[in-house]
């Protein structure tokens, strides 16, 4: 191959359709007396991190309630697993969620 040749080259980068964007959910006015979901995965740090979050939240808001949920899969949305109903029920029962994945 002659290094001085000029090449007109094609792009290797794939075309992709735009992904419909969603806004995030409205926030809470206050955390007092709210039920906060603590969602963690299989990675070891995740539960420890959320334990610390739980402890700190309860220090600041003694009336706060927490509810734990362990993500059952690895990189598969929980809503697409066999636990979908259980997960939906859990989400329905909490006011907000703190999520930790261990990394």
């Amino acid at each position: 191959m002659n290094e001085r040749s000029t090449f007109e080259v094609l792009s290797p980068w794939a075309q992709a359709d735009p992904i419909p964007l969603m806004g995030i959910s409205p926030r809470l006015e206050d955390l007092a007396a709210k039920k906060i979901g603590l969602f963690y995965n299989f990675k070891r740090a995740s539960a420890l991190m959320l334990s610390a979050v739980e402890q700190e939240l309860k220090k600041r808001y003694p009336s706060i309630i927490t509810s734990w949920y362990r993500f059952s899969g690895v990189n598969i949305p929980e809503i697409e697993t066999n636990n979908s109903d259980k997960f939906k029920e859990w989400v329905k029962g909490v006011d907000g969620v703190v999520l930790a994945v261990g990394d």
Binding site: A14, A16, D17, S25
Partner: protein, 437 residues
């Protein structure tokens, strides 16, 4: 079910988290960067990383949404024009490298002419979409596959393997998305079976996994570029492999079917011997060991005592001489596999999960009573496969992947174009001839 969510991410994973949120259509996800050591097991360290960011966590749940968070504006998707650059070899390579489209080695410029030649390797139309590759959901058109194949130095006769390779990436059973982006630096390990091996010279003999053969080198390299440029998996952004893995350049092996006493892998997987097929798992390491003695017992002892007790998908690459020794002693491939699965055991204390907070070993009905109790190194017999490959000599390859839920060995048929024989004859003589000295 609209609920406010805050994601905690280690400071090194915030970019990854943002990319993942955007790819799911929620670029505004509130992420709090924390400094808890990744996969930390020490309570005090977790607390020390969380306490300083508690106000941010609380703010994340209560601070009103900005207009952009409420209604994110469409992120511009980079859909580049077909012809992307004009320049000489060095300029083209620098442009591609700076655009993040390379793998660090020089690339063959994908000119119209080169891509057209590559497309002779398939009967599919250039605009045919094989699928969309996660996480970016890039459209894997046949032309884009060909462009990346040219860049990797592949030949048109490799196109059928690459198209089958892309089909693998689309199959949920391979768990491609998990393996390719995991901190574990898992690399695709491709095994080629059937007549196409010889048609395109996939090395299955001496040094099958070493550099030096176009097919073994370019097929793996092209798949690496396809994963990056079609799937959008970039190192340190989506691919969070901690150490990385040289296997991501290329890890392609042909089975030495002609010298094997057993049926080949693809026949075990339900294909005809005359079919060509491609199999895939994602290991992150392999080791090589030699028989303690040259009989069947020595071969098998060496395998079972050198298995990494990770419990996941694995491949035992046995050179023809040992395969024939085993076969002569009456061992079928299935017997070898069952033997390995039954007798490859190690003390519980050697299994990471014995110590985990989410202890997978210590479950009711499954708990070792002491750290010295032995547990199976391979947790599911279906995880293990035996492939005969390699040249003369005694070393064997033990290839280890993981047990991500749902992950399986996957084998797919390779479909060749109608003009295959003619195409093969055009490139068949392209083999290295080593001068004697």
């Amino acid at each position: 079910m609209q609920k406010p969510v805050v994601l905690l991410a280690n400071e090194g994973f915030v970019t990854d988290g943002r990319s993942a949120a955007s790819s799911k259509g929620m670029p505004g996800l509130r992420i709090v960067s924390e400094s808890v050591p990744c996969e930390c097991t020490i309570e005090a360290d977790a607390e020390a990383g969380i306490v300083p960011v508690m106000e941010q966590i609380i703010d994340g749940l209560v601070q009103p949404l900005t207009a952009e968070e409420q209604s994110p504006t469409s992120k511009e998707r980079v859909n580049p024009s077909r012809i992307i650059f004009k320049g000489d070899f060095a300029e083209t390579n620098r442009f591609f490298y700076k655009s993040g489209w390379g793998d660090g080695l020089p690339l063959v410029p994908p000119t119209e002419e080169a891509v057209q030649e590559m497309l002779t390797g398939t009967d599919l139309r250039p605009d045919h979409i094989v699928g969309t590759v996660q996480p970016r959901l890039g459209k894997a058109t046949v032309e884009k596959i060909a462009v990346n194949a040219v860049m990797a130095g592949a030949l048109p006769t490799h196109m059928p393997v690459l198209i089958a390779g892309v089909e693998h990436l689309l199959d949920p059973l391979t768990r491609f998305g998990t393996f390719s982006m995991s901190t574990g630096s898992w690399s695709p390990f491709w095994v080629v079976n059937g007549p196409i091996r010889n048609d395109i010279h996939v090395n299955s003999s001496s040094g099958s996994m070493s550099p030096g053969n176009i097919a073994n080198a370019a097929i793996g390299r092209a798949m690496g570029l396809i994963i990056k440029n079609l799937g959008g998996i970039r190192k340190g952004v989506e691919d969070m492999g901690v150490i990385g893995n040289p296997g991501k350049y290329s890890m392609v092996l042909g089975e030495n079917e002609e010298r094997s006493p057993w049926v080949p892998l693809h026949v075990d997987e339900g294909f005809d011997k005359d079919d060509s097929a491609l199999s895939l798992i994602f290991p992150n390491c392999f080791t090589q060991t030699w028989p303690y003695t040259s009989d069947d017992k020595g071969i098998l002892r060496s395998i079972i005592y050198n298995i990494k007790p990770v419990g996941g998908l694995c491949c035992f690459v046995i050179p023809p001489a040992h395969a024939n020794t085993l076969a002569q002693k009456g061992w079928t491939k299935e017997m070898v596999r069952q033997y390995i699965v039954e007798f490859a055991r190690s003390p519980a204390y050697r299994h990471h999960s014995f110590y985990d907070t989410n202890n997978a070993l210590v479950r009711p009905g499954n708990a070792p009573l002491s750290a010295m109790d032995t547990v199976a190194a391979i947790t599911d017999p279906n995880y293990a496969r035996i492939v005969v490959a390699g040249g003369p000599g005694t070393f064997m390859g033990l290839v280890f992947s993981a047990a991500f839920p749902g992950a399986r060995w996957v084998t797919k048929k390779i479909a060749v174009p109608a003009n295959w024989k003619k195409l093969v004859s055009k490139y068949r003589s392209l083999v290295p001839t080593y001068e004697r000295y």
